[in-house]
């Protein structure tokens, strides 16, 4: 296998679901492995319970655009199923979609959940993980983002060791309990993705 030189990832979710923590972990792992990184974020009004996304670009070559061009994303990693579909036109035909199945219902016209999951399954190779159940198993429903990071781990261009190391960098200052829950969440997500 030739070494992969770049990976473009759309991180998706709802404001407050912790997608920037996922971005931080992947960024740090990528930097350690010699990648250049650009990461476009959403700040401000949209963070108030609205749809948020982050464009995460890792490359051994120079990265020009802060935004991933539509059709160039290698992966959509979403903490919420409706949000997983919102950025589908960024994904290239062979791209991977990894999403939580746990809906975040804060709008009156949330789509029928059966149809939603059905549509996600139509995307070849899509990975759907029950992040809520696994996060609870890890100790707290707050670590759903880390469950999803675990679920994406084997398809990321960085190694799992580097990811775990940057999880420690991020969560160790918040205490042992938080760190352990996140490490468990990562493992559970990784196993659930098969």
């Amino acid at each position: 296998m030739t070494a992969i030189r770049k990976q473009d990832i759309i991180l998706a979710g709802v404001g407050g679901q912790g997608i920037l923590s996922i971005a931080f972990v992947i960024d740090n792992a990528a930097l350690k492995e010699g990648f250049n990184v650009k990461q476009a974020e959403v700040h401000g009004m949209a963070q108030r319970g609205g749809a948020v996304q982050s464009h995460l670009r890792l490359s051994k070559d120079r990265i020009w655009s802060d935004l991933i061009p539509r059709g160039e994303a290698d992966m959509i990693l979403s903490v919420e199923p409706l949000e997983a579909l919102r950025y589908l036109d960024f994904l290239h035909p062979g791209g991977k979609l990894v999403t939580s199945s746990t809906p975040f219902v804060n709008i009156p016209d949330y789509p029928d959940q059966g149809k939603l999951i059905g549509r996600i399954r139509e995307i070849p190779g899509s990975v759907i993980v029950d992040s809520e159940a696994l996060a609870k198993e890890a100790g707290t429903s707050k670590v759903q983002n880390t469950v999803m990071l675990g679920a994406a781990a084997k398809d990321l261009v960085v190694t799992e060791d580097s990811l775990l190391e940057s999880i420690k960098v991020l969560f160790a200052p918040r205490g042992d309990k938080v760190l352990e829950a996140n490490i468990r969440a990562f493992e559970l997500g990784r196993r659930a993705a098969g």
């Binding site: 960024d27 476009a40 655009s65 061009p69 994904l91 791209g95 009156p108």
Partner: protein, 532 residues
């Protein structure tokens, strides 16, 4: 040399720190807030300079200008519409000039991610006839900020750094250099800084006389780059700021690219522009914001013998930010293959007030109090509470600019709107509402002002508010609102009936009254308890 991962905003801030900054001032506003957040963080650690939030952008600008008068290096940062608030000192600072290096950092928000318009600050730089840098990436944001301080002192002018949301809020690696030592105190010359007509005429002549030199500086700038492809005369691209990245993104795997002029400064590097245009048949201008470059090339008569394309020709959208795709289309390249959603219907997920937000309780009480009271007008303002526009609240009729609610409620009341109600947050009131309330109190206008005191600047991430708590109440009384018509309520469901009654009483009172709804922002309370 160190390498750090920084937001674009942080790269500007660190550039300023390393340029020997003495003081920075700002008012929170997306996408510029992180500049001051970062300065405060570093300043608290090193104690090497002052970094502080101000009451509004005009105040911030004038504070920074005072630092420059004192011969030290100063920065003022704001979002694009903040420069409207600071426009008065901004336009005249062009005449006083800078003594210590003086940077005006303005972050534009094309696509209006968190704003009420998408005005382009480059026009302000042109209007004031000052120099402006437009970084394309994080390294440039850092390097240009450092260079801008030197240029400001060399030319004795304020210098603008123009940012846009996508650069402000993107992270990437920045290589930093050794810091520059801070300046000593040395006062500005009084004949330059006292803009009496007799002095102002002299100063304005200086502004006009220095223009050719600014153009020369632009032409010599290492940030303006002309790359010629001698084999392709069909197309040449002029791209500024992050639009340059979108052009290069689309040619990253290509063997050949067209001739490209990267524009990073204003005034434009005229000779470089001429050189590019002379070599090609079609000129595409790609710029983020309004078509400033394109319009100046087009003039009234266009480019003789050339085809000029861009936003004005419809090859790029006039509204909203650019993207790799829109630029790709303008370059006439084939779209990339991508997945599509087909006919699955996506529902939007607009931002909304947090569950349990005090504003929601205030809006609920206000809606109830206004029931059956004729045709009320509710004039709102800039902040989280603007989300009261959406269901289930449907509580407000307007949102225009910082502080507009109070003046609009007065005008509307005078036009016959009743009840006329203004709704404004504590920080926005401090920013731009006080003077309008002074006016309404002087005229004893028949209106109700509701100040939502959540003790913080919530929307932009919880910066400190100056007009909150006891001070807020004293301000209201101080501008002349009768004490018996200053009412304080607690927006909680358990006080709903009582709050509705108080609101009704003041709506019925035929004069000015102010209701202060006091309850701390949930997000801020949560952050505090986390820290504790």
């Amino acid at each position: 040399m160190d390498r750090e991962i920084l937001l674009g905003d942080e790269a500007v801030a660190l550039g300023a720190v390393h340029a020997g900054l003495a003081a920075g001032y700002s008012y929170p506003g997306t996408p510029a807030s992180e500049i001051m957040e970062y300065l405060i963080k570093v300043g608290q650690k090193t104690k090497a300079f002052i970094a502080s939030w101000s009451v509004n952008e005009k105040t911030a600008f004038e504070e920074a200008l005072g630092v420059s008068f004192a011969g030290k290096r100063a920065l003022v940062s704001m979002k694009h519409v903040g420069l409207n608030v600071a426009a008065d000192p901004f336009m005249s600072a062009s005449l006083t000039g800078a003594n210590g290096g003086f940077l005006v950092v303005v972050a534009d928000d094309p696509s209006m991610h968190s704003s009420q318009n998408e005005q382009d600050s480059r026009f302000y730089a042109q209007f004031a006839q000052i120099f402006c840098y437009e970084p394309a990436d994080h390294q440039e944001a850092y390097d240009m900020t450092r260079e801008a301080f030197d240029l400001s002192e060399k030319m004795n002018i304020p210098v603008m750094i123009r940012m846009v949301t996508r650069l402000s809020h993107s992270r990437a690696g920045v290589e930093t250099r050794d810091p520059h030592p801070p300046n000593e105190l040395h006062y500005g010359a009084r004949q330059c800084w006292t803009l009496l007509p007799v002095n102002a005429r002299v100063q304005f002549k200086k502004v006009l006389d220095r223009q050719p030199e600014l153009i020369k500086l632009a032409e010599a700038s290492r940030f303006n780059k002309l790359e010629i492809n001698p084999d392709d005369k069909s197309l040449g691209v002029i791209a500024s700021g992050i639009a340059y990245n979108y052009v290069l993104e689309n040619f990253k795997n290509a063997a050949k690219k067209p001739s490209i002029l990267k524009v990073s400064t204003y005034p434009l590097p005229e000779e470089l522009v001429k050189e590019l245009i002379a070599r090609v048949e079609t000129v595409l201008v790609a710029e983020e914001g309004y078509p400033l470059i394109e319009r100046s090339l087009k003039g009234l008569f266009g480019l003789p013998g050339k085809r000029l394309i861009g936003k004005l020709s419809g090859h790029l959208p006039l509204a909203g930010e650019l993207s790799p795709e829109t630029v790709r289309q303008a370059l006439a390249l084939k779209p990339l293959e991508r997945q599509t959603l087909g006919d699955f219907k996506l529902t939007g997920r607009p931002p909304q007030l947090c569950v349990g937000c005090p504003h929601a309780d205030t809006f609920k009480a206000l809606n109830k109090a206004l029931e059956g009271s004729g045709k009320p007008g509710v004039f709102s303002d800039i902040g989280c509470y603007t989300l009261g526009y959406f269901p289930p609240h449907n509580a407000i009729n307007t949102c225009v600019c910082m502080g507009a609610s109070v003046g609009m409620a007065k005008g509307a009341a005078e036009a016959g709107v009743h009840p006329s109600v203004a709704v404004i947050g504590d920080s926005t009131f401090g920013h731009s509402g006080i003077t309008s309330l002074l006016s309404a109190a002087a005229f004893n206008t028949n209106m109700v002002l509701i100040i939502l005191d959540n003790c913080t600047v919530a929307m932009t991430g919880g910066q400190p508010s100056f007009a909150t708590g006891e001070r807020l109440l004293k301000i209201i009384e101080g501008v002349g609102v009768p004490k018996e018509h200053i009412r304080v309520i607690t927006p909680l469901p358990k006080f709903h009936e009582q709050n509705v009654r108080i609101l009704r009483e003041e709506i019925e009172y035929a004069g000015i009254s102010v209701i202060v709804a006091v309850r701390e922002c949930l997000e801020e309370a949560r952050k505090k308890s986390k820290r504790a």
